[in-house]
Symmetry: C2
């Protein structure tokens, strides 16, 4: 206790109220902040020290801190502990006489509730990450990453010190062009633009092809991060249902006639969040509607390498005329390299390259070389095959466990990262409330609203199967949905 | 000749018309493209092969190819030669019956004439790069870069394979916070956000703090790349004169009253393109006007480490309330690492971090670790001191040579990369025409219009002193301005 005189904490231990220990820690810290015993910027005791001093579990303290971060009271600095959040203009009862005031009473960009995500994103200490969108570090291509880094460290300095080409590292672009040819879309290297991941590619496509006020169609549900991007660009968003076999093309047709949208955003293969893949017939139909109504299709194909067997590619069906194709290496090599690519008509690629240069200059050639090396060392294919096997195994287990809880699965892909599960019919509380309660227990769940253009509290959860082999997750879900 | 049967080239050699050899190569290649002897996508002979086959200098061929790239007829692939550009919708007489047509008759984003830059940017083979904005690879911190890469290659894979923190690599942010304190602006690590270079930071600031239709003030002249960024965001741009001592504060006051701008963009130290630095008094005045008229100040301070002695920092004078401070490592470590940072009020940083996540997720931690390592190995300070010395020497030579040609210098900073020179009084042709002629001779000059919000053909050139120690540049300028 003497170590942390600033936080008064006298836990009430009652086995029947065990869950509230987390709340008691939250209350104690909040009190210390509100009474200014802890002031903005001050460090908190580490999770371990706090736990030891008060004889509570590190799990309890980590869950409490995580929730205080989500609530904006603490700031997490991975590897460097927690501090009291700086006084914020959005917090009640703050701000002395003008010292901390900002010049404008400006309102931040309207990013949805899903932007809690960015705080959770920041907090690598959260014990269970079932809600996240990436693979565990140790599932990724660590060997390839190391080999690539060592390889690049041997390239003479002057050759890697300068800016790269605006389109990106030429040998990687050539390799991508060759790869695209092999999977059904023959293209020139001039049709390949390297980006810093698919999200960056989405942003470049939006800023090059669309204008504020344009209407676009997204899938319901869709990639969570696409929604704040579209809002930031001032676009009007309408949704079309994504069923197990693909888009509802009848609805798509009606929406197209009614709203005259400029673009359709699709993630055809192992979709995030449903895990579903378009049938070939559905892909053809989607393309036909896009042609009739003269829409761009922005095809996010980040998970194709994880798919087993043949999966449709809209860009191949279309010859990359109205389809702008995006992919990258975050799911298979590593998200930390931030390397993705666009494949499209040469004119579109040229204009997207100009946007890329305008908004951030070139992408880092060093990492493009690392990826190029990782892809071409002998063990890459074996690595991908191993990831697919591990995912198939995890899918089997998680699908079974979800079904046992009375949940309904949208699809059973047995590949990719995600399962999309509907809460049991009797469940009343809403997925948002469930996710909040989970956070109290140090469990990150991704509720349906994250993936819904209207942020509706739909009764669905996205589970990342690679992070869901955890007893505490299933204990929580069993108790919560009982 | 038998190697390249597709290009008919019969040079007319006349010593008095030596310069036109470049034009003859251009004409021959253009003819081959127009007659479809060379078709879109086909490879051209390498510069060396072409030169050898026709007994002309590689310099002549490189200059001709560079100009054909700038004209959009060829595409340069560094390290992989040149190809005929894909047929473009903007080119006359192209497009068969719909096969290559794009779905929309869409107009690309309005990026100014300076976007020829992106083609020149792409063409690393241009012999003289006096117009570029970076240091030669061998002037940069190659040793630090290599050490950093080798260091990161030794970090366990799982620790570098995942996404980094939304704010960026914590130890680098802590180091930046400490550095800022040492140079006059004490901040918390929570006030530091890592970006992928200053241009990325500018984009994030614009998209977080401003809305389409807002008016902003830029310097005349200003950083060329800022202008397409502002246009892309739909902002109205007005300019205020940048004199040797700083901004014209009287004009600034009037513009502020007239246009009610939301933000002022300033590059106070060793400005790009003038090389000038604000006096301390001018900086104070600028801040006062911004306070009176409630403007944000976006301070681009990329060149501070190259400055000798004390230079004003608006963010320090203001305590980082209305000033959003941007800097990075492109000028001193390497532009290829694409690591920069924002320092601002914690609330602004939080909202910029959300924008960063929305438009591209995290920045690559691997490169942030490389930079952190490069900054902390023993030889970094010596490296910076050496760069400063080389630049001071180059400044002396280039300033003298420009003065000898009858040009007038805006400032004589003897530091940083740039000199801003006014063409001799008698000169009639305009700086744009001069730069076009220079390109014919394989010389990249940066004319005044690149740096002017109205793209006016002002009679100024920006010279990068690190790339201007070249006899052919001075021969060209002597002849052209005679």
């Amino acid at each position: 206790m003497t170590d942390f005189p600033l936080i008064e904490f006298h836990p009430v231990r009652d086995r029947n109220k065990a869950a509230t220990l987390v709340q008691q820690v939250i209350d104690a810290v909040t009190r210390a902040i509100d009474t200014q015993a802890l002031r903005p910027g001050m460090a908190l005791p580490s999770v371990r020290d706090f736990a030891r001093a008060h004889d509570v579990s590190t799990f309890t303290v980590a869950a409490a801190y995580a929730r205080l971060v989500a609530a904006g009271r603490l700031v997490a600095r991975p590897g460097a502990g927690y501090r009291v959040a700086p006084r914020s203009s959005t917090q009640a009862g703050s701000a002395g006489p003008g010292t901390d005031a900002l010049p404008h009473a400006w309102s931040p960009p309207t990013l949805g509730a899903e932007w809690l995500l960015s705080d959770v994103f920041a907090d690598h200490s959260i014990p269970v990450k079932s809600g996240c969108g990436w693979l565990p570090g140790e599932w990724l291509n660590e060997d390839g990453l190391h080999l690539g880094l060592r390889h690049v460290a041997r390239v003479p300095g002057a050759r890697i010190a300068g800016y790269g080409h605006p389109y990106g590292y030429a040998p990687l672009r050539a390799a991508i062009a060759e790869h695209m040819g092999a999977i059904g879309l023959p293209v020139q290297a001039e049709q390949v633009l390297l980006t810093q991941g698919v999200t960056h590619g989405l942003d470049l496509a939006i800023r090059t092809l669309l204008r504020a006020g344009d209407t676009v169609i997204v899938e319901r549900p869709c990639y969570a991060n696409l929604l704040p991007l579209l809002r930031l660009a001032g676009l009007r968003v309408v949704s079309v249902e994504r069923a197990a076999a693909g888009l509802d093309c009848h609805a798509l047709e009606q929406l197209a006639a009614l709203h005259r949208p400029r673009a359709l955003f699709v993630n055809p293969v192992l979709q995030n969040p449903t895990g579903a893949t378009l049938t070939m017939a559905n892909a053809c139909q989607v393309l036909r509607v896009a042609e009739q109504h003269d829409m761009w299709i922005i095809e996010d194909d980040i998970s194709r390498e994880l798919a087993v067997g043949v999966a449709p590619m809209l860009a191949a069906l279309d010859g990359a005329r109205r389809v702008v194709y995006l992919s990258g290496y975050s799911k298979v090599v590593s998200p930390s390299v931030r390397v993705g690519y666009v494949v499209a008509h040469a004119d579109v690629v040229r204009d997207m390259a100009r946007t890329k240069m305008a908004v951030g200059l070139t992408s880092p050639e060093i990492l493009e070389r690392v990826v190029h090396q990782a892809l071409h060392e002998g063990r890459y294919q074996a690595h991908v095959a191993r990831v697919r096997e591990r995912l198939a195994l995890a899918h089997g287990k998680v699908a079974q466990a979800l079904t046992d809880l009375g949940m309904t699965l949208h699809s059973e892909p047995r590949a990719g990262l995600f399962l999309w599960a509907r809460l049991p019919q009797g469940w009343q509380g809403g997925a948002n409330a469930l996710a909040s309660r989970a956070l109290n227990d140090g469990i990150w769940l991704a509720p349906g609203s994250y993936f819904d253009a209207d942020q509706e509290d739909i009764p669905w959860l996205r589970l990342n199967v690679a992070y869901s082999d955890d007893a505490s997750l299933w204990r929580f879900l069993r108790q919560a949905t009982a």
